[in-house]
């Protein structure tokens, strides 16, 4: 549940989460129905106002979104009444929020998490909107915006990308080349270790970063289709293919930074900044830790190397954020117009001007103001055959948070005993996915 920070990092997830956890527990103790009573505005339908439930509580996105809404009001005369909640709170309450009286439009994530609420009939399909905005998006984005019933439920706005981040100057200084195959990657790790560096920075204290490492190794080893089946609870975790992925991971683990389970991703990023570590497999928002301009310009990334030639590097992990329409919007016409605007290149550009750590979801957005890193991320995403989200966005969040996060922490700490671990995951998965 706390993997909320995937798409966009929190400044201090720990502190907030605690208070939230405590408050949430108290609220639950006080009776679940109470929860659904709060949130949402009780105002009667006003054709000139669209209400929006926003999780963009951090300063940068909050300001960026506010500019988009202002531009929309100017264009259409419809006011956007924004109800901003803290990012983590929003996520923890989304369940009761959507069942109560939610705002017309709300911020959410693409992938399984979107499909989950769509399947529960807590969102309204927006196929009409997509007829107009469809031309603005690449096919992979279109697929991400559809529910299991094939209807559109989601308007994407921004994407981050997962890859192996490194510092150009370090690679230059030691004469390293970017590895494109598994063997080259392992050889590079060995060389870095010899050169007195930590080959791969790693911090898994928040338990979700290891999910990203598994994603990369699994879809490179077994391909996109198998990865999707595994995430959907269809494929078995005791399948030999999964075992092979873990074997690869175990081969690479000795080159990871020691004591990952006790380190936050922010601390791990510091070792890359200080050049003590050579590489860091992470999301592009790692760039936000590079507060020094010169360091940021030195940052680059490459797609995770090929493991199985049958799949090459065709899959890219690109968690996408965007908007959905709630189950019974008070001002549906206004909300549809608003969503159409959010899907326009214009809205994307306003957003990206203010938040350069992400890239546009639209293929029509003007990329001329992009930094080199953004351009590369954009090119990698556009060239990808398949886009994945992130394990906890592609699979049931209750499964990933209560089963996978502790399981992978256990593996990272002690890679022996994989078979027992996988059997345990499979056993727990069956009950969770059976519970509907």
């Amino acid at each position: 549940m706390h993997s909320s920070s995937l798409g966009r990092p929190m400044p201090s997830p720990g502190r907030r989460t605690v208070l939230r956890g405590v408050a949430g527990a108290a609220a639950l103790g006080a009776g679940i129905p109470l929860l659904s009573a709060c949130g949402g505005s009780g105002a009667a339908a006003d054709p000139k106002t669209v209400t929006l439930g926003s999780n963009a509580s951090d300063a940068v996105p909050k300001k960026a979104f506010a500019e988009i809404y202002a531009a929309f009001t100017k264009k259409s005369g419809i006011t956007v009444d924004v109800n901003t909640k803290d990012h983590n709170t929003f996520q923890e309450q989304i369940n009761s929020y959507l069942q109560g009286t939610p705002d017309d439009v709300f911020n959410w994530f693409a992938g399984y998490r979107m499909q989950f609420f769509a399947a529960k009939k807590l969102a309204t399909p927006i196929d009409d909107v997509w007829q107009k905005i469809g031309v603005n998006f690449p096919d992979a984005m279109k697929a991400l915006s559809k529910g299991e019933d094939g209807k559109y439920y989601f308007v994407p706005i921004s994407t981050s990308i997962w890859g192996v981040f490194y510092r150009k100057s370090v690679f230059q200084q030691h004469g390293y080349t970017v590895p494109t195959t598994w063997d080259q990657l392992v050889a590079l790790c060995k060389q870095m270790k010899k050169d007195g560096m930590v080959p791969i920075a790693f911090g898994d204290k928040d338990a979700w970063p290891a999910l990203g490492t598994f994603d990369q190794i699994n879809f490179r080893t077994n391909g996109y289709d198998f990865h999707v089946e595994l995430m959907a609870g269809k494929a078995s975790w005791t399948d030999a293919k999964v075992r092979t992925a873990f074997d690869h991971w175990a081969e690479l683990l000795p080159y990871h930074q020691d004591g990952a389970v006790g380190r936050t991703w922010q601390d791990a990023a510091q070792t890359l900044i200080s050049k003590k570590a050579g590489m860091y497999l992470f999301g592009s928002f790692v760039a936000q830790q590079f507060t020094n301009k010169a360091d940021l310009d030195d940052l680059d990334f490459f797609a995770f190397p090929e493991i199985n030639p049958a799949y090459g590097q065709d899959t890219v992990e690109a968690p996408t954020d965007g908007f959905m329409l709630s189950k019974a919007p008070k001002n549906k016409d206004g909300a549809l117009k608003f969503l159409e605007y959010l899907g326009s290149p214009e809205a994307e550009q306003i957003y990206l001007k203010s938040d350069p750590s992400l890239v546009a979801a639209s293929s029509k957005a003007d990329t001329s103001s992009y930094t080199a890193l953004q351009k590369k991320a954009y090119a990698t995403i556009s060239g990808a055959k398949h886009l994945t989200q992130f394990m906890d966005r592609d699979s049931r969040p209750d499964f990933t948070s209560t089963v996978m996060q502790p399981a992978l922490q256990k593996f990272v700490r002690d890679p022996k005993g994989v078979d027992g671990l996988l059997a345990s995951i499979e056993r727990q998965k069956k009950t969770i996915f059976a519970s509907g």
Binding site: T17, A25, G31, Q99, R113, K120, A207, D258, G262, D398
Partner: protein, 326 residues
Amino acid sequence: MSSETITKTPEAAAVPPPGTASPKKRAVLGHRRLLTRRDRITLGLMAGVPTILHVALVWLTALASIALAFTTWDGIGFGSIKWVGLDNFRELFTSNPQFWPAVEHNVVWFVVLILIPTPFGLFLAVQLDKQIRFSRVYQTAFFLPVVVSMAVIGFVWQLVYNPDTGLINSLIGANEPGHYIDWIGDPDLNLWAILIAASWRHAGYMMILYLAGLKGVDPSLREASALDGANEWQTFKNVVFPTLRPTNTVVLVVTIIEALRAFDLVFVFNKGAQGTELLSILVTNNIIGESSRIGYGSAIAVVLLVISLVVIIPYLIATFRKERSA
């Protein structure tokens, strides 16, 4: 919570519902007339409203979570509640790799608190009770951690334990590859690291309780034992400590409660990762979130409730028995 019911219920029972007392009865109980109709309504409201709130917010919710423990529910619509009987418990006891460690850690938590900071708190209290110089200063210093919220203690101790930049590893140079000590991530270390932080606070708490107990020891007892030629240790062992019996009972109960409700410190420290699992953390992880396993989380909560009852019921029986015989 339960003490509230005990104080409230008799009061509610003592007030007859307005309008039910017949005039004849009123004549018999002459003094009852002192309470006008308004008084009785006021009293009824004062006792009734809290009772209703208490029943609705404490008892009904507790019973609801016991009922939910036998279902699966994702929290979306009441239609998705599905009865599964004992499945949640079966899964908990057999296939949840975090459950038994969590039970074990709750027990370890109690044993450590009762064996280390509690005697230490008693020791501090005895020393401070001797009216030594600066006694107030020491008292404040040891009590300070108790005033600070557990969550804040968690943040402060993380600065000490952080494996890369923390105080300990920086001092002893254990943040280098090769001889790396992972205080937060290593399951053989992290529980003990947290317990030190918990003990740091608990000792001050115990000290204050014992200090209050010691103030109640009749000075003439000490005098008498001094006249009998007992040394300090003998006086403590044979005279002072036995008189602290009521305090010891309170200390025991407080420590058990602390061990069962342990949560905030661990949650801040590493969210109950490898080696620091606790029942309360498992409950939270399963219930709070966007697609929660409310049934399963409730089952864990029920286990916690049963453990609490096993501890509390004998205590209550013993206390009531004592009161009756007194």
